[in-house]
């Protein structure tokens, strides 16, 4: 296992976050000024690539551990990684199906959401991206044996996750409903609520997962050598962020040309 300098890795996390933030701003600009769906898709793929490489470290699937003892912790870690990514692949199909449904039902047109909704959406998107930033910091801290850094990072992640949930359920949904977009109003309403709802459900399960990891981490159950629970919670959390990277433009940005 590489033991890169902790502050180097943390700095890398900051740089990635800055790129993600800039790309999100670019996305918003493209949506309202240019209106090119293809560009929005491209930006989304770049954001996803950054998250999957730097935060989810997908390259760790290139295990190269065939010569290890099959019963060693290190080998089993590799097997668990494969299991987790297969799970995410499977879960991705649900979101893929919802994504396709949005375009089948509504074409490339916008959802009938209010300007308030746009502001709320940009806010909660930023909150979620920030939460991924802190999740990355938490995981890197744990990798380098910094328990305090881990606790701070994961606590902030949980708080931001809860903020995201509140933003969706307590702020955005009532706002949409008062604009006439309800689950039963029409196909657009149904799509909006099922997509934000399914995603929020995954954020909720992520928050529960992270809370368990926080509790166990505070009691000293994890170490730099052995912290699969932290790694898997982090990867799952970033996956939920990846889904939103696609859902946010699909729900809010496409067709919103001014």
């Amino acid at each position: 296992m590489e033991h890169a300098n902790k502050s180097d890795v943390l700095r890398q996390g900051v740089i990635v976050f800055v790129f993600l933030a800039l790309l999100t701003a670019l996305e918003f600009f493209v949506a309202v000024q240019i209106g090119a769906t293809v560009l929005l898709a491209l930006i989304a793929f770049v954001k996803v690539g950054l998250v999957m490489y730097y935060y989810m470290h997908i390259y760790r699937l290139n295990l190269q551990d065939q010569d290890l003892d099959r019963h060693s912790d290190q080998y089993k870690l590799g097997t668990s990684r494969i299991g987790l990514w297969l799970f995410l692949l499977s879960d991705a199909f649900i979101f893929g199906g919802l994504f396709v449904s949005r375009f089948n039902l509504l074409g490339l047109g916008p959802l009938p959401l209010s300007p308030d909704s746009q502001f709320i959406a940009v806010t909660i998107t930023s909150v979620l991206l920030l939460s991924s930033f802190f999740m990355n910091r938490a995981e890197v801290s744990m990798e380098h044996g910094d328990r305090r850094g881990f606790i701070v990072g994961i606590s902030l992640t949980i708080l931001l996750g809860l903020a995201f949930l509140a933003g969706v359920v307590v702020v955005e949904w009532p706002s949409a409903i008062s604009a006439g977009v309800t689950p039963s109003s029409n196909a657009a309403g149904a799509v909006f609520f099922v997509m934000t709802g399914m995603h929020a459900f995954h954020v909720l399960t992520g928050v529960i997962f992270l809370s368990i990891v926080l509790r166990n981490g505070s009691r000293g159950l994890y170490s730099a050598e052995k912290h699969w629970a932290v790694e898997s919670a982090a990867v799952y959390w970033h996956f939920v962020d990846v889904v939103w990277i696609f859902f946010y433009p699909a729900l809010y940005l496409i067709g919103k040309l001014i």
Binding site: P183, S184, A187
Partner: protein
């Protein structure tokens, strides 16, 4: 008796029932707080949302009460959990949570056999009604429910049987002690009984009248049983998804030394291809059903044209899974055929690499053909030609398998005990299924064939040939490995010779009447069509099939205690599991083995497939 009543299987039933009611009460309470009506007017006392929420809570209560999730909760609490767990001796381990893939495989197989019998009984009921035109004893609604349940119960039975084969065999075939994630494996099994209960509960909730395909708008206005169907399928789907995930991780990570990709037993390739589909595509049937459930519960208009929805969207989402699903049903069975033919003809599997690749090819192309179920649906007409091309392409890798089997059998030294009878039967029946495919693929002919008994004949042939016959072959073949005894040969032959001609008559007549105007999913048909005699023969065939299955079940049960002893390599197979005693040792291979030759080198003097390491011995 006490052991049965306190087993996880039975305990779970009580917990499911309790959880169902508690969940329904809970949601009713929430409704009251929200100012909505607490109870339903007419019918089932609780409202539909209450019953649905209760059903979900009930299913989770079943699984939770078995103990299949206990270790995970303990890990979450930060407790140490021993990695391995020994099962108690005796049969009670089959009724409780075990982490041993062999026990889980038997549990899956037994549950599958149970569901196949239940589904078969439903078929006998409505086949009796159909034997003569006019309605004799079923109402139209009863027919629709039995016919719909027959479909989904059989499908879930096949999925569980597939899981049984893959879970029991794969670790043994690759030299592993167990699957990669044993607790996940146990959990995957234990969601199946509550799912089955949900499906069967439709009978008391007014049934459902849409067929297993559940198309809206009809499914939106179907009785409450429709929701139990949707939820039951979703829960059963978890087993398929998680089981597939487990299998892929196992094959990638736990193969014996020297077992390179093209030195794996061919069944493992089939299992890989199957699992690639089941891990991914299954989510789409869950999603499509969830969307109809939400349409019913929350008025979400996905498929309601009055609200700007699109009923054809449902069909796209549904068939995106349900077509690849049929390859989940048949790829393992076809893998079994490839696995067993060399053993009984004492010749290498012809073109092993091509056969391995053909399983992957079928799985891949299988993802690209779904809309051939929708040629007459009113979907975008420009989609029809591309899907015709992709559908016809599936014939190519399928043909590779057939030609390989024939080339393997040709000039072999052939013996035909019961397992081989069912293998050959599978080849013949699947041939008919496959040959009746291309007319469905070419759109113009499909315009006539769609929704007729021709299609029913086509898929019964493919299902029996691709799954049921190889499934029976597997049970007769591996029974000694599980129990240390053989099943009775004469009863096995009787089973085969009673089932096969009856089944061929049944499906060939289905195709005949379908072409001449017999629609599918009808409770009654016009006597002027002249189909009465055909239907009578079909019903007689169905009863003969049922009788043959009874003979099989009798054979199975009696042989467990009184079968001829068979502790060694009964079939003289090169496969690793037959190089160790029967019943299979608890940890499979106390001495690990290394692969030093090809799996199917029959006829090559001195060739050995696996070599056991006499020095090392695994102690646990």
């Amino acid at each position: 008796m006490k052991k049965i009543l306190t087993s996880a299987l039975v305990r779970g039933l009580l917990w499911q029932f309790t959880g169902w009611i508690v969940g329904a009460l809970f949601l009713t309470g929430i409704r009251v707080l929200m100012g909505l009506n607490a109870f339903a007017t007419g019918g089932y006392f609780f409202t539909e949302p209450a019953w649905v929420f209760g059903a979900l809570v009930g299913a989770l209560s079943y699984v939770g009460s078995t103990g299949a999730m206990t270790d995970w909760f303990r890990w979450a609490k930060g407790e140490e959990v021993p990695e391995h767990r020994e099962d108690p001796p005796g049969w009670e381990k089959y009724l409780n949570v075990s982490l041993d893939h062999k026990v889980i495989g038997v549990q899956y197989t037994a549950t599958a056999l149970f569901l196949l019998c239940v589904g078969g009984i439903f078929a006998l009921i409505f086949r009796t009604e159909l034997a003569h035109s006019g309605l004799q004893f079923l109402t139209l609604q009863e027919y629709n429910t039995f016919m719909s349940l027959h479909g989904i119960v059989m499908i879930v039975g096949i999925l569980l049987g597939v899981a049984g084969l893959m879970n029991y065999l794969t670790p043994m075939l690759i030299g592993a002690q167990d699957m990669a994630f044993p607790r996940l494996n146990a959990f995957s099994y234990w969601v199946a009984p509550p799912a089955a209960i949900l499906l069967l509960s439709t009978l008391v909730f007014g049934g459902f009248d849409t067929g297993w395909t559940g198309y809206p708008p009809l499914s939106e206005r179907a009785p409450l049983g429709m929701q139990m169907f949707f939820l039951g399928v979703a829960v059963a789907g978890w087993a398929s998804i998680l089981g597939g995930l487990n299998l892929l991780a196992t094959v990638l990570r736990m193969r014996a030394k020297g077992m390179t990709a093209f030195r794996m037993p061919i069944f493992v390739w089939a299992a890989i291809a199957t699992s690639l589909i089941s891990t991914t595509a299954t989510q789409l049937i869950g999603l499509s059903f969830q969307m109809v459930m939400f349409q019913r519960l929350f008025g979400m208009g996905f498929f309601d044209s009055d609200k700007g929805g699109n009923p054809i969207l449902f069909q796209h989402l549904f068939w995106f899974y349900s077509h690849p699903a049929v390859y989940v049903f048949v790829l393992p069975g076809l893998g079994i055929i490839s696995e067993l033919v060399p053993v009984f003809v004492r010749k290498p599997l012809f073109g092993y690499r091509f056969v391995a690749m053909s399983s992957l090819g079928i799985a891949l192309v299988g993802f690209l053909v779904w809309a051939h179920h929708m040629f007459v649906s009113g979907m975008n007409p420009y989609l029809r030609i591309p899907f015709m091309f992709s559908t016809l392409l599936v014939a190519v890798p399928t043909g590779v398998k057939f030609f390989s089997w024939i080339a393997t059998i040709w000039k072999g030294k052939i013996e035909m005990p019961t397992p081989m009878l069912f293998v050959v039967g599978g080849i013949v029946v699947f041939l008919l299924g496959g040959l009746s495919g291309p007319p469905n693929a070419t759109v113009a002919t499909d315009l006539h064939l769609q929704n007729t008994y021709w299609i029913v004949g086509h898929f019964h042939d493919t299902m029996f040939g691709g799954y049921i016959f190889p499934f029976f072959a597997s049970i007769y073949y591996w029974f000694p490995k599980v129990t240390g005894r053989k099943m009775d040969e004469r009863l096995g032959k009787l089973h085969f010779w009673m089932m096969t001609p009856s089944f061929l008559a049944l499906t060939l007549l289905m195709m005949r009447v379908g072409l001449l105007g017999m629609r599918r999913r009808v409770a009654d048909y016009d006597p002027a069509l002249g189909f009465d005699n055909y239907h009578l023969v079909m019903t007689i065939g169905a009863y003969l099939i049922a009788l043959s299955v009874l003979i099989f079940l009798y054979n199975l049960v009696v042989s467990i205690k009184r079968g001829e002893a068979a502790a060694g390599n009964v079939w003289n197979s090169r496969s690793p599991e037959w190089q160790v005693p029967s019943p299979m040792p608890v940890h499979n291979y106390d001495r690990p083995f290394e692969v030093i030759g090809e799996p199917y080198d029959y006829g090559l003097p001195g060739s050995v497939y696996v070599k056991f390491d006499d020095k090392k011995s695994k102690s646990h």
